[in-house]
Symmetry: C2
Subunit: 246 residues, 2 copies
DNA sequence: CGTTCTCTTGACCAGCATCAAAATTTGTGG
DNA sequence: CCACAAATTTTGATGCTGGTCAAGAGAACG
C-alpha cells in the first residue's frame, strides 16, 4: 500500500526510493508469490528485497534493459507496453499490487513498465532470487501458477483483439478490471480507471477517440455512469455484460 | 480429454490410437519438457504416458472439457482456438512437435485443440503427472520456461493484433513459422503452411479474403513465391521483413 | 484564473469486411 | 488415369467500422 511505502526509509541513490522491506507487515503479501514463502523463511526474502517507489509516469524497466532484477508490485498500478519499430504502442496489460514482474527468464526485458500512478514494488536481484527459488520449491510452483494466469489473460486479450468490436472490447475490459486490483477493491459496482483513454486505447488496439465514443455509447445504453474521469459506476451489469458479448 | 469427456468408443483403452510409449526413442524428446527428465528416470515417464494419434480435423480437447490430462506433442501440427459466445473464432496459436499442452492448472480447458494434419501426442493423466512433477524439480523448471515462452508468444500476438496492418501481420506470421516446428525444418528459405487461409485469418484477426489478398501483395512485392498452397518460398527475406514492419 | 493536458464530439476517409463469383486445388468413383 | 464434384482460394465490387483530422469542452495544476 502507498502508506507502507511511505513509511519505509529512503535509501542509497543507486535506486531512488529504495529501502529495506518488512515482508511480515507487507499488505500485498497475501496476493503475491511471496505468500508461498513460510513466515519462518521471510528473513531470506527480506535480505534480498528492496522497496522501490515510483512516481506517476516513471519507468521501472524499459524494453531492452538487461533482466538483472525481478519485481513484485506492492502498491499502485503499472503499465506493461511494447512498441513497434516505428513507434506504435501496444499496452500488453496492467499490473497491480500482488503482481510479479519478470516471469520470463529472458536476458533482456521485452516490455517497458511504467507507473500509472504513485506505485511501489519490491525489487529482487534475479540471481539471488533464483538461488532462493532453488531452495524454496513452493516459490517456483507459485511462479508457474502466476505464469499460467498471465498466459490465460494474454490469450483472452488475443480473442478480444482478434474478434471483438470496439464496444465489446471496452465492455469486456471494464468487467475485467475490478478483479485485477485485490488490494484496492472499489466500492461495489464501481470501477477505478487509473489509466488514461490513450492507455486504454493502446490496450484495446483502438484510438483514444474510439474509446471515448465507446464510453459514450455505454453511457447512453444505460450500462455505466461516469463518476469522474477515473471512476465509473456500473448502472446495469446486465447491459454491460451484453455489450461485452456475454 | 476429448475421449474421456464425450466419446465412448470401442478402443481397448477408450482412446483410439493409444499405445505405450518408448520415451528413449522419441524423436520429439530433445525439444520437449521431457528432455528435463534424465534417462535414468524415463521409466517413470513411460509408465504414465500413452501415445494418442489424431487424424486431420480431430479434436484432442474442447473448450470446457475437464482438465484431466496433459499432453506433449510428438508429431504433426495442432490448432489452439477459442470461440466467442456467438461463434466467432480466434486461433490463439499452433502447436508442433515438442510443445506442451496443459500449462494452465485450470480445472477445465479454455481452448479447443484440433489436429491440422495427422498428429501424435503423448497423454499423461494430470494427477500422475503432477506427482512426477513433485519429485522431479527440473520438470517444473522446464514447464516454467515453456510457460514463459508461451507468454512471450501471446504478447507478441497482442502487439500484432493491436497495432499492425493486415500485411504486417501476415509477414510477421510467415517469419515466425519456421522456428516453431523444430522436428520438421523445411528446406532453407521455404515455409510450410499446414493450416488453411481461414485458420491463418482466425489467427491474425482477419478474414480469409484479406489473408489471400495479403499473400498476393507479398507475391507481387517479390517477397515470396507460392510453391503450393501449403508451402511458400521466401524469395526476398529483406522484402518480407520490411513488410512485417521490421 | 489562465495555461496545459485530457477528453469529447463532429466530419470525413481508409482499411478491412462483406457479398458475390470465378479460378484452382483436392477428393472420389469409374 | 480421367472426369466430375466438393472444397478452398483468389479476385472483384461495395459498404461499414474504426481511423484521421480538427475543433471545442472539461479537468488539473501552478
Amino acid at each position: 500500500m502507498v502508506e507502507l511505502a511511505r513509511s519505509t526509509r529512503t535509501a542509497p541513490d543507486d535506486c531512488p526510493g529504495a529501502g529495506s522491506s518488512r515482508c511480515a507487515a507487507c499488505a500485498a503479501r497475501p496476493f503475491s508469490v511471496c505468500a508461498a514463502v513460510p513466515d519462518a523463511d521471510l528473513a531470506r526474502l527480506e535480505a534480498i528485497a528492496e522497496t522501490v517507489r515510483l512516481d506517476r509516469g516513471q519507468a521501472l524497466v524499459r524494453e531492452g534493459d538487461p533482466g538483472t532484477c525481478v519485481y513484485n508490485v506492492t502498491a499502485g498500478a503499472l503499465r506493461l507496453s511494447r512498441l513497434t519499430p516505428d513507434g506504435r504502442r501496444a499496452v500488453l496489460g496492467f499490473a497491480f499490487a500482488g503482481d510479479f514482474l519478470g516471469l520470463d527468464r529472458a536476458p533482456a526485458w521485452y516490455v517497458t513498465i511504467e507507473a500509472l500512478e504513485p506505485a511501489a514494488v519490491c525489487r529482487f536481484p534475479r540471481a539471488r532470487f533464483e538461488t532462493l527459488l532453488a531452495e524454496r520449491r513452493e516459490l517456483e510452483t507459485a511462479l508457474l501458477a502466476r505464469a499460467s494466469d498471465a498466459l490465460a489473460a494474454a490469450q483472452a486479450q488475443v480473442l478480444a483483439l482478434a474478434r471483438k468490436s470496439a464496444l465489446e472490447r471496452l465492455a469486456s475490459f471494464l468487467l475485467s478490471l475490478p478483479a485485477s486490483d485485490p488490494m484496492r477493491p472499489p466500492p461495489a459496482g464501481h470501477i477505478r480507471l487509473p489509466m488514461t483513454r490513450q492507455e486504454i486505447a493502446d490496450h484495446l488496439g483502438l484510438t483514444l477517440e474510439t474509446v471515448s465514443r465507446s464510453f459514450t455509447r455505454l453511457k447512453r445504453a444505460g450500462a455505466i455512469r461516469q463518476v469522474s474521469l477515473t471512476e465509473v459506476e456500473v448502472v446495469s451489469g446486465g447491459a454491460l455484460a451484453r455489450a461485452a458479448g456475454s
